[in-house]
């Protein structure tokens, strides 16, 4: 299908926090309580609309176990967005966030948008990590934050779409070099490249661009 932009995402976080379930809820709108675990990496895609433009999200879902860390690392390069997921019912998955974040920052391009996600918000009675703690961590490290439930679908759409909005804004601001695919952004096939050099705000301004 035609799209204006393609964004690459990566989903990371400890094993069992619900990465694959978030992806399945987002791409297929369903929850699978029992499922095989992810070995290596899996893949999903979906089209969304932002600012009237079709955007294709290409999402790489990774294995959380330490053994697979070196494989996961090879996916940071070429990702425009990352969903860093922990489980609000397991304190240790929250404690490991620093390691994940260091890994992500070290191996990704510096503009990668990171969304922190506290998943399993439907399990309020078993909560071990307060929402405020997630918010504080996100603030401290400059991340966007949301609590989601892959089971009830609460905030799942928003988590993926808000990340895309942030990336889209960065493109508009000219932060991303969209011609470099290593940034995890691709311009759609039908999308004339001239568009990207003509942000709307600059249209009709004086001779700065030096056109012929």
């Amino acid at each position: 299908m035609a799209y204006a932009y393609l964004f690459k995402y990566i989903i990371i976080g400890d094993t069992g926090v619900g990465k694959s379930c978030l992806l399945l809820q987002f791409t297929d709108k369903r929850f699978q309580p029992v499922h095989d675990l992810t070995i290596g990496v899996e893949f999903g895609a979906r089209m969304i609309t932002i600012d009237g433009k079709q955007i294709k999200l290409q999402i790489w879902d990774t294995a959380g176990q330490e053994s697979f860390r070196s494989i996961t690392r090879s996916y940071y390069r070429g990702a425009a967005g990352a969903l860093l997921v922990y489980d609000i019912t397991r304190r240790d998955t929250f404690n490991h966030l620093t390691t994940w974040l260091e890994d992500a920052r070290q191996h990704s391009n510096s503009n990668m948008v990171i969304m922190l996600i506290g998943n399993k918000s439907d399990l309020e009675s078993r909560r071990e990590v307060k929402k405020e703690e997630g918010e504080a961590f996100a603030r401290e490290h400059g991340l966007i934050f949301m609590e989601t439930s892959a089971k009830t679908a609460s905030n799942v759409e928003e988590a993926f779409i808000n990340t895309a909005k942030e990336i889209y804004e960065k493109i508009q601001e000219g932060v991303f070099d969209i011609n470099n695919e290593a940034n995890g952004i691709k311009i759609g096939p039908q999308h004339p490249t001239t568009n990207s050099t003509l942000p709307s705000s600059q249209g009709g301004q004086h001779a700065g661009g030096g056109c012929c």
Binding site: T15, D36, G40, Q58, S67, S70, I71, S74
Partner: protein
Amino acid sequence: VTVVEKADSSSVLPCPVSISTKNKMNFLFANLKDRDFLVQRISDFLQRTPDSLWGDTNPLSLIGSSGSHNVPLSSSTGSDSVQKGRHYHPGLPTARQSLLQLYHRDGPEDLGPKAMKERMKEEAWNIHFSEFGRGVCMYRTSRTRELILNGIPESLKGELWLLFSGAQNEMASHPGYYGDLVEQTMGLCSLATEEIERDLHRSMPEHRAFQNEMGIAALRRVLTAYAHRNPNIGYCQAMNIVTSVLLLYGTEEEAFWLLVALCERMLPDYYNTRVVGALVDQGVFEDLTRAFLPQLYEHMQELGVITTISLSWFLTLFLSVMPFDSAVLLVDCFFYEGIKVIFQVALAVLHDNMDALLACSDEGEAMTILGSLIRI
């Protein structure tokens, strides 16, 4: 093997050793340089191997007893209570039977086409056994390979996997080892046990055998025991998937020794921290792709796909990506011929999807093609 002795030398057969097996076959090996040493070693080994053991672990006797699944109640109360205190004891259903045997036991006798096909396969194997022997002394002929390519019947998978992998020898030379390991490890907490616990319900969850506590508990014991035996590996995801299939066709102890054979011989370093062995084989697979499918290799290089998707093919022997029946057939071939088969199938999958893959413009499309085609 029951007896090993020197035989009389003749000009035709100098320095022979005669070896007799339990099923009364005699083999004569001649032209042996270190005959004395060899006879000594084998006799020593035989002496260390308790007699009764062979009766217990011999797959033949297992098959014979598979109809009577209940534990004899005649054992004295004393030993009974000792058994009850243990986590793993002969009274456990999974200590005596594979999960599939237990699972079929409850169902009515199946007379459908699939069951008939199984019977025919069993019959073909029985003929092969009578002609070429059964157990460690079985000859491996071109016919053996044909039979395996047709798929080993369910009832024989466990026995033949043990035989082909060599796990049977190790199991026979370490009586009680598995049971003791289970005793040492149950109740211990470590990173490995935590991770195992989390994955027990994500191992073949669609199979009925793993939707109840019996199957889950057996899987827990085997994985925990292995993590304890080999701390270098501990527990690596993907082991759970493979082990659950081993448990379908073998007892717990058999599944354990098959896992040992996989982790330590047949798939070296695959499940080490950082799955190094599997990554090495990804490299080999890429080289093979370059040699056999050069056009596709060039294209995939641009997309960067091969290493991505094929890792799970190797780590789970296709069990996580193919329909169950096809994947289990592949496991049959794998135990007979080793990793070569997995490489061959992986190349065949790429070859079959070559046109579609060449038409892909990004790695996402390629992932979608390979992911969906293989599941059909």
